[in-house]
């Protein structure tokens, strides 16, 4: 009984995050903000839903497969977001109007050296 409640809590949390993701994807106008919203849904919401399902199914072979799904998504979805962003920055010439490219000065270099 308690296991079901915990699993339901995880799944509902994940579904709420999905709702936030969909709202964000439709609400934002600039592609990077939209991508940020979508990446949250891809990682955290999916992981939360899968954790709920693992808790619900108990410790068996199915939950091991679900854990594999979580690990796989953990690796793949941030990389896909990164690649899409990379392509966007490289190909979109109007991207500069939406964000300012950080220009490194001597001060920054000195700070980096000190941190290292």
């Amino acid at each position: 009984m308690i296991r079901t409640i915990i699993a339901a809590a995880f799944i509902i949390f994940g579904l709420l995050l999905f709702a936030v993701e969909i709202y964000g994807v439709n609400r934002f106008s600039f592609i990077m903000n939209r991508m940020h919203a979508a990446a949250i849904g891809d990682t955290l919401a999916m992981m939360s839903c899968m954790a709920g399902l693992i808790i619900y199914s108990g410790f068996n072979f199915t939950s091991l497969k679900l854990l594999l799904v979580v690990v796989f998504l953990c690796f793949s979805s941030p990389v896909s977001s990164h690649l899409i962003m990379n392509l966007e920055v490289e190909t979109n010439e109007k991207a500069n109007t939406h964000y300012e490219e950080e220009t490194l000065t001597d001060e920054d270099d000195r700070l980096d050296d000190e941190e290292a």
Binding site: F75, S76, V79, H82, L83, L87
Partner: protein
Amino acid sequence: MSRLRPSHQNKREFRFKEWMDGSVDPYLGNLEMKPQQLTEETKEQFDERIQDYVRLNAELYDTEKNKGVRMFRILYRISSVIWIALLIGVMLLTVSHLPPNGDPDNPVNNEVSKRYIEQGLQETGAVNIVTGMILDYRAFDTFGESNVLFIATVTVLILLRKNQKMHNEKDMKEDQDDEKYEPQSDTILKTVAKVLVPVIFVFGLYVILNGHLGPGGGFSGGAIMGAGLILYCITFGFEKTERFFTEKTYKWISFTALSVYCLSKAYSFYTGANGLHSHIPLGTPGAILSSGLIFVLNICVGMVVTITMYTFYAMFRKGDF
């Protein structure tokens, strides 16, 4: 002319071999042929041709003057709508005559499917009844499907393969431009792909080898492995995949897989048709090495699907292996 040649060159086999190799053009000297000449078009001729084309188009689609075209267009639209409505009506009528879903008295539930469900485990040794059906009872069908994949690959090879002789500088430049958009130099993708590609391959192998025990089989596992190969190719480029996957690999894997499938099924068809006892042990149901030929056939189908997927990608992407 043929008398001047040595006698062994006059034989039919030798001439056929020459013709196959393309070393001798059989029409040369026998048929009067002129080499093709490129016709250079001057700018005036080109302009004239384009103007003709534009004028013809404008006249043809001038709906103000050309009443026939307008009538045809209206009729075309109306008749297409009527035709589609008729088709939808026929299909909906057919659907309404179908028996209800899940009714035990349906004509689908005849003695064939009953036999599959009740005797499938004893006769094929596969726990997964679907695999037992498609690779044992209906193995001929699956053989046809594998051959369809092979034929599709051959067709793509014929259509899209680049001729190395025709490879001029313009194409080379386009290829280089294409490579600019490839994320090949991306460190993050490379690092993750090093971890993910083996996992994908192991999962695909698991799906293929586990086909007679659980959901899966040659087609799905082969598609997964093909996707893994494509990911590897995207990440590390064609230089890395060319080390283990060339035209030769494709040729030998497809040849071996299809012929092993064909021969093993021919054996079981022969024994089955003549009422002989098959010497292939079925093993204990549930073990990984069980269910006789299904295990081998799954691997064959998986191999064919994997190389088909990768060859499709390579042909579409580069036009070569």
